[in-house]
């Protein structure tokens, strides 16, 4: 929590010095925790680095945004009636521009959200390097849509609420989701484009927990990292896709991990893939 705060503070302090070559602008917005009902958070971030972390106990949210002044237009708004926080950073110009290298931009968005209120999260990225920590929040549903991005989503701590569904729509991407055992989500719906997708099912699973995963993947590799204590059932509809399924046996058209029937936690995966590979690694 203190990390983004410090960054935001230094960003504000450094703003006058940042006008070397490109003119950056900073915006920090904070709202005190004044509700217990659920909030809906929608983020649309075109370009740059993004980080989301659980916030402090007295703040509903904190936004720290550094952006190119003349190229982008920020819109940060909160509707207290329905508890909707909307953060948009879009281009001022209609014309498309080219990115030379994401490393060249200092544009970034830091977002801290209260762990105290139920949360519905909707993230949409363009060309973004994103690091999203959802562990410790009270997450009820989440949707992540990425363009050409490198995204890591973590559940380092257990989710404080049961999560109905987790929807991922990834484009040309390197996408990694770590600690799904902490997510407490019942369903995970993944639509992948081109790239490498890693789903890590480690974490503190509730006894008897079940998760249904539906993955529709185009050109790319899907890595599933699964603790040995978790039973996996895998249905694969594939075209020119290689399978690496160590420790699985096939019954009919379905693959089952060893001891699936007796496993205290079950993950049911349905994959529809073309041109790529599906690999299951066991975490020992």
């Amino acid at each position: 929590m203190r990390l983004p705060l410090g960054l935001a503070a230094l960003a504000v302090l450094a703003a006058p010095c940042a006008a070397h070559g490109q003119s950056y602008r900073t915006l920090v917005e904070s709202r005190r925790l004044d509700r217990k009902e659920a909030i809906h958070v929608s983020v649309n971030f075109a370009v740059g680095r993004f980080r989301l972390v659980p916030g402090g106990k007295t703040e509903l949210y904190r936004v720290g945004l550094t952006y190119l002044d003349e190229q982008f237009e920020p819109d940060v708004s909160y509707e207290p009636q329905d508890g909707t926080l909307r953060i948009d950073l879009d281009s001022r110009h209609e014309r498309d521009m080219h990115v030379k290298d994401l490393d060249d931009t200092r544009q970034r968005l830091d977002l801290a959200l209260s762990p105290e209120v139920p949360l519905h999260l909707d993230l949409s990225f363009g060309a973004v390097q994103a690091e999203v920590e959802l562990g410790g929040l009270t997450l009820q549903s989440a949707s992540v849509e990425t363009g050409a991005s490198e995204t890591i989503v973590r559940f380092s701590e257990p989710n404080r609420a049961a999560c109905d569904d987790l929807t991922l729509q990834v484009g040309v991407t390197e996408f990694e989701m770590i600690g799904l055992g902490n997510s407490r989500c019942r369903t995970l719906d993944l639509k992948g484009g081109v790239g490498e997708i890693t789903l890590d099912f480690s974490g503190n699973w509730a006894p008897g927990a079940e998760m249904r995963v539906s993955a529709d993947v185009g050109l790319g590799d899907v890595h599933l990292r699964v603790p040995e204590s978790v039973g996996v059932r895998l249905n694969v509809d594939r075209f020119l896709v290689s399978l690496q399924l160590d420790g699985f046996t096939k019954r009919g058209s379905t693959w089952y991990s060893a001891g699936y029937d007796r496993a205290p936690v079950k993950v049911m995966v349905d994959v529809n893939a073309a041109f790529g590979s599906i690999e299951v690694d066991w975490i020992r």
Partner: protein
């Protein structure tokens, strides 16, 4: 700089205890959120108060604005602005209530004259702000000696955070990152910062070097690709290419207008073909093949026609340089290569000067129109010759001219029998 910051922060912190200890929650609605905006040109702090009221204080361009109205002036880069920015930096890391309490006690050092008056206007509004009832315990005032260390620690923490983010990126395989970035460059509809911005005296311009170099490389690649295609065509359909080139050469205007008139008919012809196949019922089965065949034929006619035009252009050039012997044997391929170089050369001005406003666009459009005309002519020639099969519109057959008379042995002049006998 550090001393001024330390002084400001100390004053800020010293006054916080009283502010937090005596919240005026009962007198007015408390602040629910605040916003800090900062750039090279302005520095502003806004509060939203429960019930919807707002307070916006901004220092911009030498003017102090409260809720958009000018209330005073300040010296850009002077004491008031510097300490206001330091205050905003602190407020940016605080909660709403902490920010309100700090605002009550904010007092810049060393301001005088107009700046002092402006500060009083700001102070008058800030002190009316009320924190919420649930005020957290204030942070302990830092000792003077610790301030620099704390600032340094904060800077280190920020650096560590940035390093962690960069480390995260390095963990990802470089090959995938590269492919992602290429994808962004090539096809992303993502709106990003412009290519290479340089700033000079406040004016901005885009460096054209990268675009020009890329354009020239693109032209070179196009030339190589078309030459390779021409190489294949000259081997497998050399005669057809010759017939089309002859047609372009002898029926240039006819080829152009046939191509021009045929273009609007492409889609109707395609539709008619599909309709005809559908009506025959059995033909439905071959529709996928027919679609592909139609596309291939269209592409072949356009490409072959363009190469034929290139061959004509190259032949003219070679004849000027080498006479009639220039188009024999491998000279045919060479003439196509010369021709392609000539045809693609119309793009060179557009590539070199494309970054110039107005003129660049005009040159680009000129190259597009010229290329379209050439392709239309080639397409027309391909249609007239049925893909190089029919030579009706090509040059007429002309029998070889008789060799010059000097190469013949002249018959001996007739002589009389008497003369002949006399020689004997």
């Amino acid at each position: 700089m550090w001393f001024a910051k330390a002084t400001a922060l100390t004053g800020l912190a010293l006054g916080m205890s009283a502010a937090f200890a005596t919240p005026a929650a009962g007198q007015a609605a408390p602040v629910v959120s605040y916003t800090v905006r900062s750039s090279a040109r302005e520095a502003g702090l806004g509060f939203q108060i429960e019930g919807g009221a707002t307070l916006q204080i901004t220092l911009r361009g030498g003017e102090v604005l409260i809720d958009g109205a000018r209330v005073g002036a300040y010296q850009p880069g002077g004491a008031l602005e510097n300490q206001w920015r330091q205050f905003l930096a602190w407020a940016g890391s605080a909660g709403a209530d902490e920010a309100v309490a700090a605002a009550h006690e904010w007092k810049p050092q060393g301001v005088a004259g107009e700046e002092a008056q402006a500060f009083e206007m700001i102070r008058a509004r800030l002190t009316k702000l009320v924190p919420s009832a649930a005020v957290p315990a204030p942070p302990q005032p830092p000792a003077d000696a610790d301030i620099e260390a704390q600032i340094a620690a904060a800077a280190e923490a920020a650096d560590a955070a940035r390093a962690a983010t960069e480390h995260l990126g390095r963990d990802i395989r470089e090959s995938v990152r590269q492919s992602i970035r290429e994808s962004v460059r090539d096809r992303a509809r993502v709106r990003v910062e412009p290519e290479i911005w340089q700033e000079a005296d406040g004016a901005r311009f885009t460096s054209p070097v990268g675009a020009v170099f890329g354009g020239l490389l693109g032209l070179l690649g196009t030339f190589v690709a078309l030459t390779a295609i021409a190489f294949g065509v000259s081997f497998f359909a050399g005669r057809q290419l010759d017939v089309m080139a002859d047609t372009v050469s002898t029926s240039l205007a006819r080829s152009f207008f046939v191509g021009l008139l045929a273009q609007p008919l492409i889609l109707p012809a395609f539709g008619a073909m599909l309709a005809g196949l559908t009506l025959t019922v059995i033909g439905i089965l071959v529709i996928p093949v027919a679609v592909v065949a139609f596309a291939v034929a269209l592409l072949a006619a356009t490409m072959g026609g363009y190469l034929a035009v290139a061959r004509v252009a190259g032949s003219v050039w070679m004849k000027k340089r080498q006479g009639d012997h220039g188009v024999e044997g491998f000279g045919i391929l060479r003439s196509v290569a010369y021709g392609l170089a000539i045809l693609l050369a119309v793009w060179v001005p557009a590539v070199l000067l494309g970054w110039v406003p107005v003129a660049g666009s005009m040159l680009t459009w000129a190259a597009v129109v010229f290329t379209w005309m050439l392709m239309t002519t080639g397409f027309g020639a391909a249609l007239l010759t049925r893909g190089g099969v029919r030579s009706t519109f090509g040059r007429r057959f002309q029998p070889q001219a008789l060799p010059p008379a000097s190469l013949f042995e002249n018959p001996a002049p007739e002589i009389s029998t008497g003369e002949w006998l006399g020689r004997k």
